[in-house]
Amino acid sequence: MKHLTPVNRKAAKVEAVTKDVVALQQGGPPQQPEPPHIPNGCSLVFSPGWEADRTGGTAGLCQPVERDLFDCHMGCFWPAQVPDQLNHAPDWTAKCAAAQKDWRKIDLIFPADEKKKG
């Protein structure tokens, strides 16, 4: 800062912490090294193809691409991605005790199947 002089210790802290904010606001080259790899979360935005990370790759995802669907049934609130296990397809995962081994046993659910059950 050219026109203000920090006098006490808090002022020095204010100057230090606002430096990055000012740099960001003014644009220019990035102030920090490459940010850590964080896959884009599925529930934050509606974005088909979210399985790709920020660089377009799939290697660093939090789980194998094959498990995505299965994980939606466990940890995701997004209702359209998986069969409705409460009402229509209670046995959908019955043959899949361990996802890493048994993921092939998870079958597709078609409306016809549901009708039959109904």
Partner: protein, 483 residues
């Protein structure tokens, strides 16, 4: 077009320079000519940015003005007038805070009968005579208090114990054995422990002095000044003044006890409002290293209460003494006016307080029976109990206290520029004055603002003329003063 306006701050001048004390951050910045001009142009209210730039164009380069406005916005001295600044969030600690200081009331008995006493006088909140609390703390309870302090200091490598009373030295035996016990236990758990006490000095026998000196116990003496002032309120039960008994003992203590500075703690009343005279007597004639003053805690209307005009008088005297301090500071000489040292320390760090003091947070008080309260002034009061030294304190109660006493809950303070440093003032004072610890101490707002302003001026002056002097305040760890 964006309009900008001034945000919250308190301006002051020192050594021919202009400064801002920002609220609520408590940061202090010095202004140059251009930033001064920007501030001045906005004094009458918000203005469109272009308008402001045009006005200042003639006096400064346009780029300079733009930069200055950006800098002032960056430190939140200016803001867009359409955006209301949101108050800082009310953050309550999520887990217990380590205890720094435990004040242990080893007795609630006293050999003096000072008429203004908050423990025995008209405004007492703990029944010290017929109450449930024992008159003297037993050795067993004192040991439990030490265990409590070591336990509650958690990750802190250091615990600090302050012995208090009544008259602390009336229970000297327990004090003596407790210090030995505490040193042994602290060594066992790998912590540093240190001790201080407050006394009226009348029981300072040679063996007591010897003990305090060798054990490096910090000593604060309650004394009100030269004989005529000391004897006005600080009297024995038969009405006899205590100066003649106390004075020679204090001199003996100061002569022998060189391991830690000895401080005096003065209670100011309407009848004893001569700060400079008291200071001179206590430092030059008695030999105290430092002297701290506090206006008497009292309900309104007591005949010793300092009334409004008295506070103005008091402020003028504090200013005089503060100026003496400044002159000494500019020449790197010691000056023992401890009120200003404490405020400068706080200003130097720029702590923006959510709570006026550490009571119920890093500081707690223990009654003679082992009850733990917010501070020593509440120790033994059922209404302000947090628990006891045996079973510990209730974190729920503590959190509840922190919720209700946060500065954001004190609406009266929300527009005051001195709130980062005052935060509403002493809980005990508020309880005595208004019947509730949650209330801010509105009776001394003017005094706090006046005194803080003076301290800011002195801080600015030292920062300009002798900044190295302020390095002594860099250290964060200063145990809270207990009075």
């Amino acid at each position: 077009m964006t309009s900008i306006s001034l945000c919250e701050f308190h301006p002051f001048e020192a050594a021919g320079r202009r400064f801002l004390y920002l609220v609520p951050s408590a940061a202090v910045f010095a202004l140059d000519q251009c930033s001064s001009a920007v501030i001045d142009s906005l004094v009458d209210g918000p203005r469109p940015l272009d308008d402001l730039r045009r006005e200042l164009e003639g006096r400064f380069e346009i780029e300079e003005v733009t930069d200055t406005i950006a800098e002032l916005q960056r430190i939140r001295a200016l803001g867009e007038s359409s955006v209301r600044p949101s108050p800082p969030p009310k953050v309550i600690p999520l887990k217990p805070v380590p205890l720094q200081t435990l004040v242990v009331n080893v007795t609630n008995q006293c050999n003096l009968a000072c008429t203004y006493c908050y423990e025995y006088g008209e405004d007492k909140i703990v029944d010290t005579e017929n109450g449930k609390q024992p008159k003297f703390m037993t050795e067993a309870t004192a040991r439990e208090a030490i265990e409590f302090a070591l336990r509650e200091s958690r990750d802190n490598p250091r615990a600090h114990i302050t012995f208090f009373g009544g008259e602390t030295l009336m229970n000297f035996n327990v004090l003596q054995s407790t210090i030995a016990y505490a040193r042994r236990r602290a060594a066992e758990v790998g912590k540093d422990i240190d001790f201080s006490l407050t006394t009226n000095a009348t029981l300072l026998r040679p063996d007591v002095i010897e003990f305090l000196a060798t054990e490096r116990v910090g000593v604060t003496i309650s004394i009100d000044g030269p004989e005529e002032m000391q004897d006005k309120f600080r009297v024995f039960k038969n009405g006899m003044g205590s100066y003649d008994v106390a004075a020679p003992k204090i001199k003996a203590l100061i002569a022998r006890h060189r391991s830690r500075p000895i401080g005096a703690r003065v209670t100011l009343t309407k009848q004893t409002l001569d700060v400079r005279k008291i200071y001179r007597h206590l430092t030059e004639e008695m030999g105290f290293w430092e002297v701290g003053f506090a206006p008497v805690t009292t309900a309104p209307g007591r005949d010793y209460a300092i009334a409004d005009g008295g506070f103005d008088h008091l402020l003028a005297q504090f200013r005089d003494l503060a100026n003496d301090f400044l002159q000494a500071a500019l020449q790197n000489r010691h000056h023992g006016f401890s009120n200003i040292r404490e405020t400068l320390q706080e200003l130097h760090h720029g702590h923006a307080k959510a709570y006026p003091c550490g009571a119920g947070l890093g500081l707690m008080g223990v009654s003679t029976g082992g009850h733990v309260a917010l501070c020593h002034r509440f120790a033994g009061s059922d209404d302000h109990s947090l628990g006891n030294v045996r079973d510990g304190v209730s974190w729920e109660k503590q959190q509840d206290f922190l919720q209700t006493h946060h500065i954001n809950s004190k609406t009266d303070c929300s527009t005051c520029w001195a709130r980062p440093i005052c935060a509403g003032g002493c809980y005990h004072e508020a309880h005595t004055r208004y019947g509730s610890t949650e209330r801010p101490n509105l009776h001394y707002c003017e005094w706090i603002r006046g005194w803080t302003h003076t301290c800011l001026e002195i801080y600015g002056e030292i920062a300009e003329k002798n900044p190295d002097f302020l390095r002594q305040f860099d250290d964060e760890e200063v145990p809270e003063k207990v009075s």
